[in-house]
């Protein structure tokens, strides 16, 4: 609703845009440019050797795999929670609703610390799970679990407005035509919330790709087994192997940017199919 006429009426266009661009270039632009510049100074052989070592490949596969599995779990859990929040009333619903956002506000180090403690053999969950052979701490399962926590609000918060805005008519029509609730859900509701579900999935996935703070506590960081790519970057840094660290960092960035680009495409696609 902002009119183009604003530029002639409201003051501060040059100042605000100028400051925005200046601050963004200084804080974000220069470090990113420096990183890519350093990476481009590596010889192709050096770069390839760093990014294609067995240990690095294992780390990317684990990072992408664990992020994918946790985002998939989040899509299912988030759908359930968003459904319950928008359709039903129950005691303490508002408290429940507020707590959904806890993973956004809780420092990741705290999440990592408490998850590793819960799933340790003597922890509240571990004392039941470890005797059953389920190792939640210092394992790949632990990485997935803590990533589920980190990405939890994304699917819920993306789905909620879409579920709220859903027309009752379509569901009523389905009921009139003899569909039961499950059929209505699968054939009528699910197709219309599917784009939002995918967006929420992609957001949770993108968030998990770069996660470090929580995973470092729970994974045990064993090369080839439980070492994610950001942990490998830190390991290389601590060996003062800056070129290798930079090369792996560029691969992580590339994966994140491709995901970001895919999210944008998805959003445009889903907008076209709804608007």
């Amino acid at each position: 609703m902002t009119l183009d006429v604003n530029r002639r009426v409201l003051p501060g266009f040059t100042l605000s845009l100028g400051y925005t661009l200046l601050y963004m270039s200084l804080l974000v632009g220069i470090p990113l440019a420096a990183g890519f510049l350093k990476a481009s100074q590596l010889s192709l052989g050096q770069f390839w050797a760093a990014v294609s070592s067995d240990r690095a490949v294992a780390a990317y596969l684990l990072t992408v795999g664990a992020s994918f599995v946790s985002a998939f779990i989040n899509a299912l859990l988030g759908l359930l929670v968003a459904w319950v929040l928008t359709r039903y009333d129950f005691p303490l619903k508002r408290l429940f609703d507020s707590l959904v956002d806890l993973p956004f506000a809780l420092p990741t180090a705290v999440a990592g610390l408490v998850y590793s403690d819960l799933f340790a053999p003597k922890g509240w969950y571990g004392r039941f799970l470890v005797p059953l052979g389920i190792q939640g701490a210092y394992s790949r399962l632990g990485i997935v679990l803590v990533l589920v926590f980190i990405g939890f609000p994304f699917v819920v918060r993306t789905l909620e407005p879409v579920l709220q805005g859903l027309d009752a008519d379509a569901e009523e029509a389905a009921a009139c035509l003899g569909a039961n609730r499950l059929q209505t859900f699968v054939r009528v509701v699910l197709p219309s919330i599917f784009p939002a579900l995918i967006t929420g999935f992609a957001l949770a996935f993108a968030r998990s790709l770069g996660e470090y703070g929580s995973v470092v506590f729970i994974s045990g960081n064993m090369p080839f087994k439980t070492e994610i790519a950001p942990v490998l970057v830190v390991a290389r840094l601590e060996e003062f192997a800056y070129p290798e660290a930079t090369a792996i960092a560029v691969v992580i960035l590339a994966i994140s940017f491709v995901t970001l680009f895919a999210i944008n495409l998805l959003e445009r696609w889903s907008m076209r199919h709804h608007g």
């Binding site: 605000s16 925005t20 806890l102 809780l106 819960l118 703070g213 960092a249 960035l253």
Partner: protein
């Protein structure tokens, strides 16, 4: 949200699920939340107080490195939040009030730091300001230190929390529209007057939430700060880094004591968010009531 007293009079709607499904799904959702969110949160405080309140207090107050980490976090986060606040206001004013080429691209670029792994941010800052970095020799010649020191912590924290305020403020200002500001200008108000007397009162609650969320993220930042700080105990360790160090030293009560302070920060953040949402809803209802009353009379 159907009123229960009326629910009996109204025939079941097509959107209503059978009671067994309803109760089953609610219980399942509550169980999931309990497993992933509530129990871990409770566990933080139980572990922190496992050896009694006295030990808890000692862990926080009589550990010199922990005390230093708390002070350092209190020194780093406000500066980073302040920087991002000024930026957030400028960006929201430019994006929500004007149309210009590249506006959509700018909005996307502002979100970019969210998709850069914090560890990568830290590494790139090392490449820029470290001893062997681009500016390394120059900084050393002038006896300046950025990485492994306070300025590096602020830059890393500001980078990671960069979009938060702008993201809260821009949609809010877009939703409010520019009519009031345009009116103020047409009545002769000048730039800062418009901002101080019209814009700021309109967006203050959203802005407050943005600042508090940004602060929570800033105080909890781990990956980027981990890399640029060099984690020197008593010098560059912030609270989350202190948690990690105590954890590595097998001092779990100490780690959980610091973690409990950070968890309380998160709870305060959630509380403010919820309170602001209620307030906004009430204000909207009030405005709606006044409007309908005005139309009737």
């Amino acid at each position: 949200m159907a009123d229960t007293s009326q629910a009996k009079l109204i025939p079941p709607r097509a959107q209503d699920d059978p009671a067994t499904v309803r109760v089953g799904l609610i219980l399942l959702a509550v169980a999931i939340m309990a497993f992933f969110v509530v129990v871990p949160l409770v566990n933080v405080f139980v572990q922190a107080f496992a050896s009694g309140a006295h030990t808890y207090w000692n862990n926080l107050v009589h550990d010199a490195d922990t005390v230093h980490s708390i002070k350092l976090t209190l020194m780093v986060a406000p500066v980073a939040v302040g920087l991002n606040l000024v930026f957030g206001i400028a960006a929201a004013w430019a994006i929500a009030r004007f149309r210009f080429p590249g506006r959509t691209l700018l909005t996307a670029l502002i979100d970019l730091p969210f998709s850069v792994s914090p560890v990568v941010v830290g590494l790139f800052l090392l490449l820029l300001f470290g001893l062997q970095g681009t500016f390394g020799p120059w900084l050393r010649a002038h006896d300046l230190k950025i990485v492994f020191a306070y300025p590096g912590l602020v830059i890393a924290t500001a980078f990671v929390t960069f979009p938060v305020v702008a993201r809260e403020l821009t949609p809010l200002m877009e939703a409010l529209g520019a009519e009031e500001e345009v009116a103020a200008v047409s009545l002769g108000a000048r730039g800062w007057q418009v901002f101080r007397m019209i814009t700021l009162p309109n967006v203050k609650w959203g802005l407050l939430y943005g600042v508090i969320l940004c602060n929570a993220r800033a105080m909890g930042e781990f990956g980027a700060v981990y890399v640029v700080s060099g984690h020197i105990a008593g010098k560059t360790d912030t609270m989350p880094l202190r948690v990690e160090k105590l954890f590595q030293e097998y001092n779990l009560p100490g780690a959980f004591a610091v973690a409990s302070v950070l968890a309380m920060l998160a709870l305060v953040t959630l509380f403010v968010k919820t309170a602001l949402e209620w307030k906004t809803r009430r204000d909207l209802a009030e405005a709606h009531r006044l409007q309908t009353e005005g139309a009737e009379s």
